[in-house]
């Protein structure tokens, strides 16, 4: 192999894509498997440690890692020449590898949209970064929780699709 050629550059973006993705999905799973189930067991006077300090910090890395994952992923797909075929789920050229990665890409795009347009705006209300009435806060908490669970659900087929594209086809 040659360093600093096109293949190496694609690999560097793929490396950044995986780093960002681990940060994003790691924090997503932290929220769903650790933080949310633990909140009910934490005494009320200790809850602000999570809501005022840990959650805002985690959400910062979470949403920017989501954006970074999408951008670096689209760069990899574009540089590798399969972005259109993949987004068409392989239906335009019948290439299974592109269909598989395309499923992963669509799931990832839906998940990132969930992060930026549903989870984050609602979490700002839940965590008090945006002042709202108590009933609206409760509604925002429910919406954010369901969107986060939706992303946890989608992360399973997303990772299957992405990794299988590189290993099965």
């Amino acid at each position: 192999m040659e360093y600093f050629d096109n293949n190496w550059l694609v690999f560097m973006f793929r490396w950044l894509h995986v780093l960002s993705g681990v940060m994003w999905i790691g924090l997503l799973w932290y929220f769903n498997f650790v933080q949310t189930p633990s909140m009910a067991k934490i005494a009320d006077e200790h809850k602000p440690a999570v809501t005022k300090h840990i959650a805002p910090e985690a959400l910062f890395w979470f949403r920017w890692a989501a954006l970074s994952t999408v951008i670096t992923g689209l760069i990899v797909a574009q540089m590798s020449g399969y972005v259109e075929s993949a987004l068409a789920l392989g239906l335009t050229d019948g290439v299974p590898k592109n269909a598989a990665i395309g499923f992963g890409m669509w799931l990832g795009l839906i998940m990132a949209a969930n992060v930026w347009f549903i989870i984050w705006p609602n979490q700002k209300k839940v965590l008090g970064m945006v002042e709202v009435a108590a009933d609206e806060k409760a509604k925002a908490a429910r919406t954010a929780a369901l969107a986060s669970r939706t992303n946890t659900m989608l992360s399973i087929p997303m990772l299957y699709a992405m990794i299988s594209a590189h290993n099965l086809y």
């Binding site: 269909a99 369901l146 946890t152 659900m153 299957y160 299988s164």
Partner: protein, 32 residues
């Protein structure tokens, strides 16, 4: 009916069901 996303187990099972649908699509598309 309870929302399966209200439990972690339900969430993971739902994720596995979507994965199975994806595998079904891929088997039909690629012939194996």
């Amino acid at each position: 009916m309870k929302n399966p996303l209200d439990s972690l187990t339900g969430t993971v099972i739902a994720g596995l069901v979507i994965t199975a649908l994806h595998i079904f699509y891929m088997i039909n598309m690629s012939g194996g």
